[in-house]
Amino acid sequence: MSHTVLVCDDAIFMRTMISDILAQAGFEVVGEAETGREAVEKYRQLKPDLVTMDIVMPDMGGIEAVREICKDDADARILMCSAMGQQALVVEAIQAGAKDFVVKPFQPSRVLEAVQRVLG
């Protein structure tokens, strides 16, 4: 059975790219979220195996969303998607409970390696 994924990013372009990468690798993208708040709501609703989370999003950022999600489910598998130069934020997200991160621009294999680490 394939793993389910929730993709959170405010840019359609990025959501599409991530969804493509994951779908091609056999994952089932069950939902997308444009804001942190939406991410938290959809996580409760969908209980996905994996979440990819952008850091900077309107209406509750990614880090805050990680905190909220982990409050409900300490084992949530969240993969942060960061741009270069956001190390401090990524560190914060990890402390909040994120399990791994990838850095844009994405290399599909890197993304999938990170996903494997998170799921493994």
Binding site: M17, V90, Q107, S109, R110
Partner: protein, 620 residues
């Protein structure tokens, strides 16, 4: 997503990793029970695998992965894997060729089935008896027993990893999942800094054993190394001295160098114009541009400087393979591998140095029995060393073998007119000239390794083309030393421009002793050759018109001669006229077939015309 953008990086990095594999294998072979070589090998193989996977090269990844799995088991008992070292060597070679193959024709065409089968067989045949099949031995003397207090763990994040601090934080969280973490260094705040260097350490109290800890930390990704205990951590000073670096495509640097070269030439032209002008402003600007250009040139040269290990790295393997093939026992030492040299020179040195190393193994170091008989240790020594002073780099290939038999060289030297009949000794410089004659070989019999005299002449002409020279010292019974003396950088040199016929030629100033007026009444003969009386000595003359095959009207009146000097040999080059001095940019020179072997390169002059660069060493 366009992976071709990553191809160049993959190529460079994978070669680095595979070269590290080769080095680790040599170390392992030398000390079969040491753990460190296997760990290094495992690490390099693992990193290579990751990169191959990122590029989507499934076959390369598969072979690396299966190798890594076997290595993983061997880490706890390296000696059990000594029979496999040869297989690992072949796998490393196969991966290296596979990288090239994958980048050309795609990974799908690669076929590693035989090697994979050997790996399988190795695992199967050793499993029942070999203790290495058990990942961790029950009693690990080095590590404290499970649960016995906290142990220090040092972690290094892979140097190419992005956001090392965040990666370190992930590893730390994995550690926390195993037990309690204390004494974290550096402070957590350092992990948020963009320039965090990826090294950190902590104490971990856990029931998990070292293998479990290593596996857990590695699972956080991009972990290059996990070390236990309090063995000297890398000194902070060393880490700081590395500075911050970026990778640059070499072609960029070459293009930049070419542009600087153009600028140097234009600067020369500008200086001439300024000189002829009355404008003080123009003169001031010309001076300033001249200075800035000089500085710029210096910076670019500096950027091109490359440590010699980038080429030396493959030599241990070359020597090992040759020694095995030829039944020699050789210890190989490398010295001064951090010595820096212009990349353009370094790239061209690989082949000549391999020739010299081959000669050292094949013709230098004797067979073990012969060495024993001669009262020497059975294991021969070959050493390659590099050292530099301000402008010159010396590279030496030294062996403690039988030396070159001068009695065999003597008749040859006399026959070639290099020594007078009846001479009884062969000085080192004459020896080299004999060795450098095309086709000459001192080998007692031709081997498929050194071939028939291929080598020394090729070595010497290559080194000369780079503006360097070769010297040899040898003593019967104690060995030979070949010394390559090389400029630290090429690319821009000062040269004298001389006209011969319609063409202008550049003669590097470094090879010129003086220029004189060529007076016909001072022409004499020396050992049957035309010579010129220069004060109280005779200098052989070389009439460049004749050498270059120039026809047409000879210049009326007196012509100049350029006295060139290489070592203690001199020659008077007779030219039609001297044109002036100029800084010239040396362009790589692949002489077309049929070109006289008298030129070391080509250049573009200030007015845009091309000119050949005369190699004084080929004329004296």
């Amino acid at each position: 997503m366009d992976l071709s953008r990553y191809a160049a990086l993959f190529l460079t990095e994978s070669r680095e990793q595979l070269s590290a594999c080769g080095q680790a294998l040599l170390d392992w072979e030398r000390t079969p029970s040491a753990v460190e070589p296997v760990v290094s090998l495992f690490r390099a193989m693992h990193t290579f695998k990751g990169m191959a996977a990122a590029m989507g090269y499934a076959n390369l990844t598969e072979l690396a992965h299966r190798t890594e799995s076997v290595l993983d088991l061997l880490r706890s008992d390296p000696a059990a894997g000594r029979e496999l070292i040869d297989l690992f060597f072949r796998i490393t070679d196969a991966l290296e060729q596979g990288v090239a193959g994958a980048m050309e024709g795609g990974d799908a065409k690669l076929n590693f089935t035989p090697l994979l089968a050997e790996l399988d067989q190795a695992s199967v045949s050793t499993t029942p008896t070999g203790s290495w099949a058990i990942p961790a031995r029950a009693a690990e003397p080095a590590g404290p027993a499970a649960g016995a207090g906290a142990r220090e763990i040092r972690v290094t994040i892979r140097s190419g990893a992005v956001m090392k601090g965040a990666r370190a934080m992930l590893a730390l969280r994995r550690a926390e999942s195993l037990g309690s973490v204390t004494a974290l260094r550096p402070q957590p705040a350092a992990f948020e800094q963009e320039d965090f260097d990826g090294h950190f350490s902590f104490m971990l109290q856990t029931p998990a054993d070292e293998n479990e800890i290593t596996a857990a930390l590695r699972a956080s990704g991009e972990v290059a190394e996990v070390a236990f205990g309090s063995a000297a951590a890398e000194p902070a000073a060393e880490a700081a001295a590395r500075g911050r670096q970026i990778r640059i495509d070499l072609r960029r640097l070459d293009a930049l160098m070419n542009q600087v070269g153009e600028l140097v030439v234009a600067k020369g032209r500008l200086a001439e114009l300024a000189e002829a002008s009355d404008s003080p402003e123009l003169k001031a600007v010309a001076t300033r541009i001249s200075r800035v250009t000089g500085d710029l040139h210096g910076e670019v040269v500096q950027a091109r400087m490359t440590p010699v290990w980038q080429v030396f790295d493959r030599f241990p393997r070359v020597v090992r393979d040759l020694a095995r093939q030829l039944g020699r026992r050789v210890r190989f030492e490398v010295e001064g591998e951090e010595t820096q040299l212009d990349r353009a020179i370094l790239d061209d040195l690989g082949e000549p140095l391999i020739h010299l190393l081959r000669n050292a193994v094949d013709h230098g170091v004797e067979r073990p029995a012969a060495r024993k008989k001669a009262g020497k240790p059975e294991e021969g020594l070959i050493r390659i060393s590099a050292a530099s002073d301000r402008t010159t780099v010396l590279i030496r290939v030294i062996d403690d073998g039988k030396g070159i038999d001068r009695s065999r060289v003597l008749p040859e030297a006399i026959a070639a007119g290099m020594l007078p009949a009846g001479a009884t000794e062969v000085p080192d410089d004459v020896l080299l000239r004999v060795l450098s004659r095309p086709g000459y070989s001192t080998a007692e019999k031709v081997t498929d390794v050194s071939g028939r005299g291929m080598g020394m002449d090729a070595v010497i002409s290559k080194v000369r083309a780079l503006g360097g020279s070769v010297e040899v010292q040898t003593a019967p019974g104690t060995g030979s030393t070949f010394t390559l003396r090389l400029p630290m950088t090429l690319a821009i040199v000062r040269a004298l421009l001389a006209r011969v016929g319609e063409e202008r030629y550049a003669i590097p100033l470094s090879g010129i002793a003086e220029t004189v007026e060529f007076l016909p009444d001072r022409v004499a003969a020396l050992e049957g050759r035309e010579a010129y009386v220069l004060r109280d000595t005779l200098v052989p003359t070389v009439r460049l018109r004749d050498r270059f095959g120039v026809t047409g009207a000879r210049p009326a009146g007196r012509v100049p001669a350029v006295i060139v000097e290489v070592g203690d040999r001199r020659a008077a080059l007779v030219v039609d006229a001297l044109v002036g001095q100029q800084e010239i940019v040396v362009e790589p020179f692949d002489a077309p077939k049929g070109t006289l072997p008298l030129f070391s390169g080509a250049t573009i002059l200030g007015d845009g015309a091309p000119a050949l660069i005369v190699d004084p060493a080929a004329l004296v």
